[in-house]
Symmetry: C2
Subunit: 343 residues, 2 copies
């Protein structure tokens, strides 16, 4: 027979074990959307110092309209039973065509006055991926990234090799002057005058104008894509996170699809896009917990500014950012949101 004191001690130990066990495994709480939507599409047009004070009504409306149009184009694909891959490509090619965003037409200029673009794409079923870096003549960089994924044995091609490949694949090639916009040119001149050795994250209004899209389709397949002109005044054929699978883009049907925007070097060093998928897979975190951890804790402590858009296999959407604003939106049956500033 044990004395009462021993039994009490045993109870305390029991309690400690119980609480210890549940703390170790938040995993056990399932994280399923209340009702899984038929499809989901989320997009971003860059994160940065985007405040109401720096904006005028006309510009605000232009961004809202462009984001809605991109969502329309992607949603049309998903509504018709199309694939998440086709949906993210539809949304991104439109944003590449819009001079409002730092991708395709409207890309920022590098130190030598050239537009040098990066893009990547990934699908979550077979984890196939494609990326291109430092291209100057491909009208839609995202289509070249997709061609690398689908038509080559490689994942990443850069520079002239990537351009040769895109041309062989029949993609639209344009004269580099196609990408010129006065606003981005002026931004480069401002940086060159003030601090020529420093590259700037789209200096004109200090936002990072990278575009991205993530989607879940009716077949349960996830996809993610990202396209960018990189940093104003960048030098030495710098490659940012956008064409790096695991940094700027990731998709895995077992967890989530992610596209990032921000100070790319930090997103590479912390493998931000893959971190979300890994936190969900190995740490059994929810999409929101994983996104908050990397964007609001890890990156904030490191000094890395930016944000991401994400959708998980159950149709949950989360669009966290640690900057003043992020051009963003999402759409699913019966619901659409387009936002610019912090809430």
């Amino acid at each position: 027979m044990l004395p009462v004191r021993s039994l009490m001690l045993m109870s305390i130990i029991l309690l400690m074990i119980f609480s210890g066990c549940s703390e170790e495994s938040p995993a056990n709480i399932p994280n399923v959307a209340i009702s899984k939507p038929d499809y989901v599409l989320a997009i971003h047009g860059g994160a940065g110092v985007i405040t109401k004070e720096n904006m005028n009504e006309e510009k605000e409306l232009a961004y809202q309209s462009a984001l809605n149009k991109a969502l329309d184009l992607g949603e049309e694909v998903l509504k018709g039973g199309g694939t998440s891959l086709d949906a993210v490509v539809a949304a991104i090619t439109f944003m590449e065509d819009s001079p409002l965003f730092n991708a395709g037409k409207g890309a920022v200029f590098n130190h030598d006055g050239q537009n040098e673009m990066d893009a990547s794409i990934m699908e979550g079923k077979e984890l196939m991926a494609g990326a291109i870096g430092g291209v100057r003549t491909i009208k839609h960089p995202i289509l070249a990234a997709r061609a690398v994924m689908e038509k080559s044995e490689h994942v990443m091609l850069v520079g002239q090799g990537a351009e040769t490949f895109a041309k062989e694949q029949g993609l639209e090639i344009v004269d580099p002057s196609y990408f010129y916009t006065q606003q981005r040119w002026d931004a480069l001149q401002n940086v060159l005058k003030s601090d020529p050795d420093r590259s700037e994250l789209d200096h004109s209004d200090r936002k990072h104008g990278t575009v991205g899209a993530v989607a879940l389709d009716r077949h349960g397949n996830l996809a993610a894509a990202t396209s960018t002109g990189g940093m104003t005044n960048k030098r030495y054929n710098r490659i940012g996170d956008s064409p790096i699978i695991g940094a700027g883009t990731y998709a895995d049907n077992g967890t989530c699809a992610v596209s990032c925007t921000g100070h790319g070097e930090y997103f590479i060093r912390y493998a931000v896009a893959h971190s979300l998928a890994a936190q969900m897979e190995y740490g059994h975190k929810s999409l929101k917990e994983a996104g908050d951890h990397i964007i609001h804790d890890v990156l904030v402590k490191a000094g890395g500014t930016g944000g991401l858009i994400s959708v998980d296999k159950d149709g949950n959407v989360y669009l966290p950012f640690n900057t003043e604003g992020m051009y963003r939106g999402f759409t699913k049956p019966g619901m659409r949101e387009v936002k610019i500033y912090k809430e």
Copy 2:
């Protein structure tokens, strides 16, 4: 007072909880090397179809001698209280100089008959990283990757931009012919004759000859580095996993340092190097559990061949590969191993 039966029942419940808890959280079992070594250095010289039958004694001795020499050079740094960064660089520059390995002198040829090299480096304290891709004139690509990390605001530079940067940093620039070796040239000619459209993982003896090093120093800092010539007959400025932080290289003092070798496209898609760190951080796995999962489960199922070397913050070393062999070795106070074939 409780009857004996109740106490027995309570004991059984206690036992179930204990075993349940340890299954849910293998994390709770600390995974510390029996006594943490003062320093550890591990290296690889590529993984692939390396069998005793394909080897002769002379070649075997040459590889063993080169691996031992690389370990000597790195160990000298660590023994003297030097940093893990200096140690991995010492080991890798030697392997870049050796024509036995597919990095630096002895790099494979691309489709156009050029040597086109990639390298990356990362340190685990501040998670700083540097990488270069597709360079043709930098004698020691790993030194250029380190310069990107330490002397630029960027993480990744490619092509001519990377070469310009390396030159400005005072690194040794050589004529592209410096990298020529008859063996690699013949390998390209063989591929061009047999199947010109297919790139080959170092076709000559079908091994992937990438080199890598990981180290833990006396200050508790981890570092990882990787250098390669990529794939024989590669086209379109293909970039493999070696210069991709998170794919071919990763280091984080909180978990481990990793350098990979193998079919690079798979290592990018599965973010292999970062996966190890993430499995340890979020899944509380041991270094061995994390390495086995990605190399012997995930990659085998996907069809991705290769291996990796890894050392964790407690000085554990693990060098898994799913190919016939991997040139590899490690050294720590009182212990050295150099191996080529599967056990």
